[in-house]
């Protein structure tokens, strides 16, 4: 300790304010020209307080992406005024990389120009059915454009799963509004090595007709017929 303090006490009589806290090798260099050794004590206190707050805030935000408690959520909410303008907030983004959930599957937007398309055909599989055209993601795979396409459609699919068809329509309408030939639209999830046959044969998470009246365009979601109802209908026949 005495070795560490020696250069500090020498420099304290001149201009430097904080060399006494430096390691040996760094403190020994503080007389070199052009070196900015440290901030003043008031600035140090301010920066220290900010550091504690900042590190606490980002930690709370990133740990909050998996089922936070009510208190955790409330504190997180209060911290948004700091985190969001700086884009430090996790906001539920998957920092855990992968979970094997359906929302991680590749999503594709498909459009159909055929008319009339029966309700059942909106859910027709396979995905590469000739009645449907797939809107390809932009850019190289694994880079930004591809990721943005995925987030657009997985958000829409999640909203559809939460029974929010008007919000899904807000997200999808721009993709079909200008092409008057498009009669129907749907979001499909592509199979992966992780999905089972049952997963792959599940209905698309969203399907809708494009309704056009004068200048107004809207999406009319079609809910998939329940399998049990379908079965009874077959039996009746």
């Amino acid at each position: 300790m005495s070795r560490r303090r020696k250069p500090a006490s020498q420099s304290s009589s001149s201009t430097s304010k904080s060399e006494n806290s430096l390691p040996d090798d760094q403190a020994a260099n503080t007389d070199e020209p052009g070196e900015n050794a440290g901030p003043g004590s008031n600035l140090k206190i301010l920066l220290s307080l900010w550091l504690i707050f900042h590190l606490f805030a980002i930690t709370l935000s990133y740990t909050g992406v998996v089922g936070p408690s009510e208190t955790h959520s409330q504190i997180n909410e209060a911290l948004q005024v700091y985190l969001r303008p700086a884009h430090f907030a996790a906001d539920g983004r998957p920092i855990y990389l992968a979970r094997g959930e359906a929302s991680e599957q590749p999503h594709r937007l498909q459009t159909s120009r055929l008319k009339p398309l029966a309700d059942a055909n909106l859910f027709a599989l396979p995905i590469d059915d000739s009645r449907w055209e797939t809107v390809a993601p932009p850019g190289a795979r694994g880079l930004g454009g591809n990721d943005r396409y995925h987030r657009w459609l997985s958000t829409a699919a999640t909203l559809s799963g939460n029974e929010q068809p008007s919000l899904v329509a807000e997200l999808l309408l721009p993709a079909v509004i200008d092409d008057t030939e498009i009669k129907a639209v749907r979001i499909v999830r592509l199979p992966t090595e992780l999905t089972t046959t049952a997963d792959d044969s599940a209905a698309p998470p969203y399907a809708a007709y494009v309704a056009r009246k004068n200048a107004n365009v809207s999406l009319v979601q079609v809910v998939q017929p329940r399998l049990s109802t379908q079965q009874r209908g077959d039996d009746d026949e």
Partner: protein
């Protein structure tokens, strides 16, 4: 209080406070800080170039995330309150210039120009902060379309902006702001890694071995043509080992980065972790940013 009195009072501070003081406010190498910042500038430039092709598809005119549609969407979803702190100059610029695609491309060009200027130590401190503000403006404008990479880049560019401007291959100088910048990046990425591991382990896929496979799974969105039913990755022992390896390697790598701060062992493990994540999950920019920030833990002198 005189300087000598201040020094005396500081000498009586508890060891923990002295350690805090020494850790955060001792001078660091401007060249080391400039190297990290140049790496982040390169990644940010790649990010902006990647956004060039599809920015109009999402943001301009009547696109799904144009200002008008975003506003309508947030109103319909009742999210106006949540979104009020997501600020970006692009919202204002869009209103002024009518959401034209050229506006967004001009913004990206400014971002790319700033990346080049900051990487070469040009434009003074203001350019460093301007780059962070331009990037945050872009990420906030994307809103729902922004992912994890944007968070890492924002954290990294923010901390990097603190360091005095310098070229990555320029002359060596020691400055407390360079040290503060490096340590802020080092602590931020360590916390981020800790949260990554904690949240990974909150899901069963990282315990039952399937997460490595899940990371690889989306065939159509994969950059490299690895995987498939006949590949080595479809064997249980391979994806189990990848999953457990990823869970174990990150904390060990980060720990070694801190314990042996002059050694390359820790950074090598973290870089290998980033490479595996990037290759399997096609998270290229995420992997590059994570690795670049992890290098800031290395002893800089």
């Amino acid at each position: 209080m005189s300087d000598s009195a201040t020094d005396r009072s500081r000498e009586t501070l508890p060891a923990a406070i002295q350690g805090w003081d020494r850790f955060w406010f001792s001078p660091g190498s401007t060249r080391a800080a400039a190297r990290i910042r140049a790496g982040l500038c390169l990644i940010t430039a790649i990010y902006f170039i990647g956004a060039w092709g599809d920015c109009t598809r999402w943001l301009a005119g009547d696109a799904p995330f144009s200002v008008n549609r975003t506003s309508t969407f947030l109103q319909a979803a009742g999210l106006e309150n949540d979104a009020r702190w997501i600020v970006s100059p692009l919202f204002l610029i869009d209103r002024l210039f009518g959401g034209h695609g050229l506006v967004y491309r001009a913004y990206l060009l400014i971002g790319i120009g700033l990346c080049a200027a900051v990487a070469f130590g040009r434009g003074r401190q203001m350019a460093c902060w301007a780059l962070w503000i331009v990037f945050v403006g872009w990420a906030n404008r994307l809103m729902l379309l922004a992912g994890v990479t944007e968070i890492l880049l924002s954290l990294g560019l923010f901390a990097a902006a603190v360091a005095p401007p310098a070229a990555a291959v320029g002359s060596e100088r020691r400055d407390w702001k360079a040290g503060f910048s490096l340590r802020l990046n080092a602590v931020q990425i360590t916390l981020f890694a800790a949260c990554t591991i904690a949240t990974m382990l909150a899901g069963s896929a990282w315990w039952n071995g399937l997460a490595g496979y899940a990371l690889l799974a989306p065939i159509e969105d994969r950059t490299l043509g690895i995987g498939g039913p006949d590949s080595i990755f479809s064997q249980a022992i391979v994806y189990d080992l990848i999953t457990h390896g990823l869970v174990i390697a990150l904390p060990i790598g980060m720990l070694l980065c801190w314990v042996w701060r002059r050694s390359w062992i820790g950074p090598a493990i973290v870089i290998a972790w980033c490479a595996v994540v990037a290759i399997l999950g096609s998270h290229w920019l995420y992997g590059l940013t994570f690795a670049c920030l992890a290098l800031s833990i290395r002893q800089d002198d």
